[in-house]
Symmetry: C2
Subunit: 137 residues, 2 copies
DNA sequence: TTAAATGCAAAATATTTGCACGTTG
DNA sequence: CAACGTGCAAATATTTTGCATTTAA
């Protein structure tokens, strides 16, 4: 999920229209792939405040339902969004500013517990929460 | 953190007073150690609605600052609370029936990445999704 | 042209704050 | 009795909803 035309095709397939507002929102998301953006962050990126907050909420929900964006709720209860990664990996997420640092998965230390419980893994999620070097100050 | 007297001692050490309201809240928390309770859940446990929501918010914050409770924000952005476990653990979650199986955290293989990025971890979440032994059949 | 998307206003929800009064130690 | 805790009311903040208007296809 890293080119605008790819996303446009996906939206088209879902019967959604390509609007001026969606185009701007996608530009902002594609320029910020390493941070989870709040609606307020996104508003701050729109210089002439040409998009209403309601429209941002509605489009972020639509994008998430279409698998274009992923979502989290930060330590203050704010929704944050980013474009989905094409490559799976894990995240350190700053609960203050939403910054994301990726790291690879190196072990599956839980394998014995899976076997023991006859559990069949389909996927796993590892997220490290805390403060990034800027926000810890 | 599993007996009321232990918690009372801790509160006393922190210079906090033992009030009727705190006593009731602790009873509710101690009777619900396997679920994260929202303020609304807690209100629902108080039959005669003798405690104001504000008091619950303030006490849950105080409990959390004292290390008595732990907190999370759920998928809807609601704060939820539970008495701290003596042992932290992670979850295998069956995507069919919702069953949860706990397992302990044995490694922090991501430590080098944290150090490298000057990240300050507050907590981490590891969830293994899949099917439990019953649902895989 | 017409169904979907948008902007604005208002509502809904969750949480926080100020302050007077009550209670604990 | 003195400090802390509580309840009530009002303020904040975020997100959602209703509806008339605009716009993409």
């Amino acid at each position: 999920m890293n080119s605008k035309s790819e996303i446009y095709n996906l939206l088209h397939d879902k019967g959604q229209r390509i609007t001026h507002q969606k185009s701007i929102l996608l530009d902002i998301l594609l320029e910020n792939t390493d941070i989870m953006l709040s609606v307020n962050d996104i508003l701050g990126c729109i210089s002439d405040s040409s998009i209403d907050a309601t429209t941002i909420y509605r489009n972020m929900q639509a994008f998430t339902e279409s698998g274009i964006t992923e979502t989290m709720i930060d330590h203050k209860g704010l929704n944050r969004y980013k474009i989905c990664d094409s490559q799976p990996h894990h995240h350190m997420i700053c609960t203050d500013c939403g910054k994301i640092i990726n790291f690879p998965c190196e072990t599956k230390f839980w394998e014995p517990y899976i076997t023991e419980n006859n559990f069949t893994e389909t996927h796993h999620v590892i997220k490290i929460y805390g403060k990034c070097s800027d926000c810890v100050k």
